[in-house]
Amino acid sequence: MSNTVIPLQRRKFAQTTRQDGWWIQPLAIFLGLSAFIVYANWAAFQGEHYHWGPYLSPFYSPELFGDSPHSMFGARPSWLPAWVSPALLILWAPAGFRLTCYYYRGAYYKSFWGDPPACAVGELRNGYRGENKLPLIMQNLHRYFLYLALIFLLVLAYDAWKGMWFKDAVTGEVSFGVGIGTLVLITNVCLLGGYTLGCHSLRHLVGGRLDEMSNSPVCQKAYSCVSCFNARHMLFAWLSLVWVAFSDVYIRLCSMGVLSDWRLF
């Protein structure tokens, strides 16, 4: 790069000549993400009321060890400290996926770090490392969280399927049915699908890495599919975030007896 000294004035924190409400969006994102983080942490530490009937809260899925019928490897092993809920065993993966997601990165750098507070608005700090150095250079591992997220998507699809098989409390007979909870879980997997399948790393993996995609029609098709979701990545990021929390709330309230799940058929 040309080693020229560019004589420029540095603007002060929040200094701008913008006349619009530039602070509204970052503030809304700050509040939205904070509310989610607080709720998700609270729910993850509860360790109870995370399943009801055939439904399993997405915060607790896959349930590796636990006392619900959804548990994959049986009851909790005795060596597992009591405070470690089944959610805490798995939530790091979807949390890492969202934390390293390109959309969320751009959003929380602004809302939580003020780097910058909004476009064309002065910053708080002088120094800046960006994603060029540790620790944020680690964001480049997003693709590994994507691989895990794709597995989680299959698990959640299976949960939605399981949410269609109701066990009769008296006879123990299992029959097909659809309750509001089933629809909640189906919507959850669809929205998460929209989010995960629009991932930038996936877009790169399925075709973006090639310069001549025309040589591989499958890649080309997959690339245009992912690009379609990718163009709505922010939308799906928010919808899926809200819905995953809502699914947990719904199942929790059913399990606590506050709500009764309405069986459509």
Binding site: L8, R10, E212, S214
Partner: protein
């Protein structure tokens, strides 16, 4: 005829101040019209750079009410004329005079990017064949008019002044255009990582928001380049695979 007040920054690299000018405005006017009217009627020495008045030469970049925009493409009807309209030069480049800045740094940066190097010609007449689908992808990047509004808004240049370590969104678009070109054989990834500072971009998408050509700078140029850089330098699994392949 209605009037409106324009608060225009007057000065040079030593400093300056805002000055208010009131002038007549009429339907269909753009900010550049108002500035040129002020220049003609009230401030003959007002420096403003413009050329095409059609959003195609990229000369009239400025900040209007704090938002980087082309003066010739900003209609007065988009703005509230109840308050003075603030017009100032781009903040990421040194001032020359009034609304004119010295953007020559950009031209120096461009020279350092590895040039297009096509593969051997596909046909005996020295021509190449490209599929339309492959061309479509890079076509978007070719719309750039080099207005440098994206460079101006990017906080890495604007607030952190990392001009010596970071080439800015305009040149990521330029590099993406070359890197994704099906004919090109050059590898620019190491340069992008080491000397051109792609890691400094924290994907805030401000560049995309201000681009008058609606180029999806962050999503279609920068992030795909970041992914390619990650493939090459930050993916341990890929590194391992490459190691095995080499050994074979």
């Amino acid at each position: 005829m209605a009037t409106a007040t324009f608060r225009i920054w007057r000065g040079n690299k030593e400093g300056g101040k805002f000055q208010d000018y009131t002038t007549e405005v009429s339907e269909g006017m753009v900010v550049l019209d108002a500035v040129l009217r002020i220049q003609a009627e009230k401030a003959n020495d007002l420096a403003v750079r413009w050329n095409c008045k059609a959003g195609k030469c990229g000369s009239c970049s400025a900040e209007i009410n704090g938002i980087p925009k082309l003066m010739c493409m900003t209609r007065l009807s988009e703005l509230s004329l109840d308050l003075p309209v603030i017009i100032e030069p781009m903040q990421s480049f040194p001032s020359i005079k009034d609304l004119v800045t010295d953007v020559s740094w950009n031209f120096e940066v461009k020279k350092k990017i590895k040039k297009f190097s096509p593969r051997k010609a596909d046909a005996s007449d020295g021509t190449w064949r490209m599929a339309q689908n492959d061309v479509n992808r890079v076509q978007e990047f070719r719309k750039c008019i080099e207005c440098f509004l994206c460079q101006n808004v990017c906080h890495v240049l604007r607030d952190h002044h990392l001009h010596n370590e970071f080439i800015g969104p305009r040149f990521f678009v330029y590099s993406a255009n070359l890197e994704m070109n099906p004919l090109d054989t050059q590898d620019r990834l190491e340069q992008l990582k080491d000397t051109q500072g792609i890691g400094y971009c924290n994907i805030t998408k401000c560049c995309t928001k201000v681009c008058p050509e609606s180029i999806t700078i962050t999503d279609n140029a920068i992030i795909p380049l970041k992914e390619r850089v990650a493939d090459e330098f930050y993916d341990p699994l890929k590194k391992l695979i490459r190691l095995f392949r080499k050994k074979k």
